[in-house]
């Protein structure tokens, strides 16, 4: 595996809070702390996996990385430039370098546009290519994602889920980006098709030297594609480590529970394995518990967890954990 040293994206204490308004005067009565103080780095050429249950803020975090949401607080460096502070015009010049692949390939493609115009739209916006050049580029992109060139004039509904996801990928690639946020790109697909899309993403990464933030709740798929993995819970990172460390020696009780909840496709191992079954659901991010966010569901919580919030600390080289008890 290659060394990734150069930092591409650096998030420092990023917060995204959505205000809650109530009453006739729409006064702000509180806020949903969807992302509450994320700090991490994404290195050039690597894939950082971001996992967590639904509602933990991973999609919000992914969008915040592209400044599709305004940050409530924090700094977000993209190649050393803090994009959280850029004005709209400056931001526009950085946009082509960061792209996104969405979860639902059905909903993210305009049903009234042809495949060709969907893929060419970013080119219309950000480049001065001639029509002929654009057409060539679109065809090249279709080749790159393994689709037939003749599909340019077809509409999204004519394709299956996996193919639509390929169109979404081609669109994301159109402007030769450096950084792509993949927001659950395979969650809506069938198992056999998932494998195809994941393979495609890996091929493209190798060919074009892309950096991915891969958001998923499928831990086994993240294990396959990611170099490092961050586990989120209720707007915060609870553990961040090299893939191997995280899966072999998970330190945070939440990571341990998540990993044990993934079923193994082998009845004999499955019968012997011990499952940590978490009780209850994720608490509401509008009203997070005091102390450690996870203390309401944690099987090993002590008194200290209910009063004092744990810091994300480096337990051993490259493995960060936010838990009082982890050692």
């Amino acid at each position: 595996m290659t060394k990734h040293d150069q930092v591409l994206v650096k998030a420092q204490n990023v917060k995204v809070h959505f205000p809650i308004h109530k009453g006739i005067f729409r006064r702000q009565v509180g806020s949903v702390k969807a992302v509450d103080g994320l700090s991490f780095e994404i290195r050039k050429g690597e894939t950082l996996g971001l996992v967590g249950e639904s509602g933990c803020g991973k999609s919000t975090a992914g969008r915040a990385m592209l400044r599709l949401y305004e940050l409530t607080e924090g700094q977000l460096d993209f190649e050393g430039v803090d994009i959280a502070k850029l004005n709209p015009k400056e931001l526009r010049s950085v946009r082509p370098r960061m792209q996104m692949i969405f979860q639902d390939p059905q909903a993210c493609l305009n049903p009234r546009m042809t495949v060709g115009s969907i893929i060419a739209e970013p080119l219309d916006e950000h480049t001065n290519l001639s029509t002929a050049e654009k057409r060539e580029k679109v065809k090249g992109l279709l080749d790159a994602v393994g689709m037939n060139r003749d599909y340019v004039n077809r509409y999204p509904h004519e394709f299956s889920g996996g193919q639509r996801q390929r169109i979404g990928i081609a669109r994301a690639l159109a402007l030769d980006p450096d950084f792509i946020v993949c927001d659950e790109p395979i969650a809506a697909l069938d198992v056999s098709i998932q494998a195809q899309v994941v393979n495609l993403l890996q091929d493209i990464q190798e060919r074009m030297g892309l950096t991915y933030l891969f958001i998923s709740h499928d831990l086994s798929m993240v294990r396959h594609i990611a170099d490092r993995v961050a586990v989120m819970y209720l707007g915060k990172i609870v553990e961040l480590a090299e893939k191997r460390d995280l899966y072999k020696t998970p330190k945070h009780p939440y990571t341990q529970a998540l990993l044990s909840a993934v079923p193994v496709p082998d009845p004999e191992i499955e019968a012997k394995r011990e499952h940590i079954v978490l009780k209850g659901d994720v608490p509401s991010p509008a009203n997070p518990p005091k102390g450690c966010n996870f203390c309401t569901r944690c099987p090993i919580a002590i008194e200290r967890c209910r009063t004092e919030e744990p810091e994300l600390r480096e337990l051993k080289k490259g493995q960060f954990v936010a838990c009082h008890l982890a050692e």
Partner: protein
């Protein structure tokens, strides 16, 4: 329950689609049978055909017998069938978001089958509904009866669905991808719950899923479906240790393995499952199969017995690497 030669077709504008093509299987008391396959392989349609839950037309059950307690379910009058649905056979649908009625309180939706099938009074039904919600592990059950579905989270809604399905002590529970829409931790909770309930209530369960990982943990037997055919059927241990059909093997291979480094690419199955407009004369998996040879194009393999209840529908012997 004993199902023989079940065939369901859909009459569409583009012609007839053969969704279920002569499926036979049995379900013994207290056992858990998993039905595995990609979307479009006919898993759900098969199970819904059993209770005639499909809209007819366009669907039509062409032939088959569903023997349940000495009665053929397909021959029942609508009124009798109503007694079976939700009474002896409970059904959990895939999507907990859409299968509860948003304008009725959860309590009402649980009590409805109790009053209907068991003839309980309002008071008795309410008491039973609280018991059921407690059984599926919803805290504060008595209060939550007055909540609407949108006030529940996904996992909780699925629990409510399970509670409704269990309301009348069914002998058989059919669960159609009950955990697919849920997070892994919630999935683990539901699986744990189903295991517990099964021990307590001793019902037979049909578990439809596309996740071979989930199926491994809970099933006694597994039936793999493709294009409306059963292509492999075995006890759970045999299937994972000795998968005999190329499709089963391919499905297992698409899962990312634990093997750390070295593995770069996932194996994928190219192409899509077919929509059968005509009853096939060849093996429906042949176009996607790496072992396909001329016999596969000419003859559709029947389900063949391989010993110890392990059945497979394939002309190619993957173990010997030669035609059968």
């Amino acid at each position: 329950m004993d199902v023989t030669d079940l065939r369901t077709v859909f009459h569409t504008q583009d012609g007839t689609v053969h969704a279920v093509n002569g499926i036979s299987f049995y379900l013994e008391e207290g056992e858990l049978l998993s039905v595995v396959g990609e979307s479009g392989s006919g898993k759900s349609v098969t199970m819904m055909s059993l209770l005639k839950l499909l809209p007819m037309p366009p669907a039509e059950i062409v032939s088959g017998m569903v023997d349940f307690d000495g009665r053929d379910l397909l021959e029942l009058e609508p009124e009798e069938l109503r007694q079976v649905r939700g009474g002896d056979i409970g059904f959990i649908f895939q999507d907990p978001m859409t299968s509860l009625n948003p304008v009725f309180k959860v309590g009402f939706q649980i009590m409805e089958p109790l009053k209907e099938h068991l003839g309980l009074s309002e008071k008795q039904a309410r008491k039973r509904a609280v018991e059921l919600l407690e059984l599926v592990g919803i805290p504060g059950a008595a209060d939550r009866l007055n909540d609407y579905p949108h006030q529940f989270s996904g996992g909780m809604r699925q629990r409510v669905m399970i509670a409704i399905a269990l309301a009348c002590d069914p002998k058989i529970l059919i669960a159609d991808e009950p955990t697919t829409a849920l997070d892994v931790t919630i999935q683990a909770q539901i699986i744990e719950l189903v295991k517990k309930l099964r021990q307590k209530l001793g019902m037979a369960i049909v578990w439809i899923t596309h996740d071979l990982g989930v199926a491994a943990g809970i099933s006694d037997r597994i039936m793999v479906m493709y294009a409306g055919f059963v292509v492999e059927h075995a006890k759970v241990k045999d299937l994972y240790k000795r998968p005999l059909h190329p499709y089963t093997r391919a499905l297992l291979a698409t899962l990312p393995t634990d093997a750390e480094e070295g593995e770069d690419r996932l194996k994928s199955i190219s192409g899509l499952p077919p929509a059968l407009h005509e009853y096939p004369n060849s093996c429906p998996f042949a176009p996607r199969c790496e072992f396909a040879f001329d016999r596969c194009q000419k003859e559709n393999p029947p389900l063949m017995e391989m010993g110890d209840g392990h059945q497979v529908a394939c002309w190619w012997d993957v173990e010997k690497g030669a035609p059968r």
